[in-house]
């Protein structure tokens, strides 16, 4: 299975994402942001980092990169498209997901593992997980705080499109267990069709016990399983 891992100037997690996807048995390929075609890929990942330096707003310039037209086409056609951290920010700026990511409540960069609760299995991100399951994944961001206009938020919740929420080890999601102030403790969401999904924490950083946790496999395996269901589209 061929997975496109898109690289913008300033992206830095592409090698880690490719490594993780390789470990899970897929064939990842790094695709430079100036490419205009993503033919024959079974899935697309927008990895973490600082695309275009996060200048203007995080993701604001990246969404206009030539490659994004092809990403958009894949999204519309139902190909699994996954955004991780900066990738989440870019998908929001591109309008492929609602809302936006702004500065963490405490105005500090946060790099630490956080507990997350699976809210729904209706997406490429959580298909093979269990609702209510608590995972521990590394958060690594300054702008991890999800906000959206009230009506978009209502729709998101009503349609069950929140995939992951920040919580504590027991699965309790409230302001006291919210690391960055994200609205409704939202850590990951999906589009209506469930094929475009994104999250702020880094699943690729939690696939080996040697490095601390394998909880990321739960989510990446869902992504891989979703690609298997949707064969490559031109």
């Amino acid at each position: 299975m061929r997975v496109a891992v898109v690289v913008f100037p300033g992206t830095n997690c592409e090698h880690d994402v490719a490594y993780a996807l390789g470990e899970l048995g897929t064939s990842p390929e790094l695709v430079w942001h100036r490419e205009t075609a993503l033919d024959g890929f079974d899935g697309v990942v927008l990895p973490g980092g600082f695309a275009h330096g996060d200048y203007l707003r995080t993701g604001a310039i990246a969404r206009f990169s030539p490659v994004m037209t092809a990403v958009e086409r894949h999204a519309v056609e139902g190909t699994p498209v996954l955004g991780i951290c900066n990738g989440f920010q870019i998908l929001c700026e591109a309008g492929l997901l609602p809302g936006a990511l702004v500065a963490n409540r405490d105005l500090k960069f946060i790099c630490r593992p956080v507990p997350l609760r699976i809210e729904s299995t209706n997406s490429i991100l959580t298909r093979t997980a269990r609702v209510g399951q608590v995972l521990r994944l590394p958060l690594n961001s300054y702008e991890g705080n999800y906000i959206a206009p009230a009506k978009d938020l209502e729709r998101l919740e009503a349609q069950g499109r929140v995939m992951l929420r920040y919580c504590d080890a027991a699965g309790v999601a409230d302001q006291s267990t919210n690391p960055n102030g994200s609205t409704n403790s939202i850590a990951g969401i999906a589009n209506t069709a469930g094929n475009v999904a994104a999250l702020m924490p880094h699943p690729e950083r939690a696939i080996e016990g040697l490095l601390g946790s394998t909880d990321g496999r739960v989510l990446l395996e869902s992504f891989v399983a979703s690609m298997a269901r949707e064969p490559a589209r031109a």
Binding site: L56, R57, A60, I61, F64, C92, E93, P98, G99, A100, V102, A103, N104, R105, D106, L107, N145, I147, A148, P149, A150, D152, G181, T183
Partner: protein
């Protein structure tokens, strides 16, 4: 050459963590009279106009497409003398 100042602010009702932190800091310093703090950004453009009447429309487009995020931000455009 037209010089424009674009004033971009977060929409009312949406979280503004920098504003909250700054308000707290002002109160800690004794400025209890401050009620709210909101952050914005100013972008200055120097625009050469081929057709004066279309500058406004084109700058609006620039704001909507790139300079601001219409989902979470409002903006105003002013000509600077």
């Amino acid at each position: 050459m037209t010089k424009l100042r674009i004033d971009i602010r977060r929409k009312e009702g949406l979280s503004d963590p920098e504003g909250v932190a700054t308000l707290r800091a002002l109160h800690d310093l004794g400025y209890a009279e401050v009620g709210e703090v909101h952050f914005g950004r100013m972008i200055y453009l120097d625009v050469s106009e081929e057709d004066e009447s279309s500058v406004g429309a084109r700058v609006e487009e620039m704001c909507r497409r790139l300079l601001a995020n219409p989902v979470i931000e409002d903006w105003t455009v002013e000509t600077v003398e």
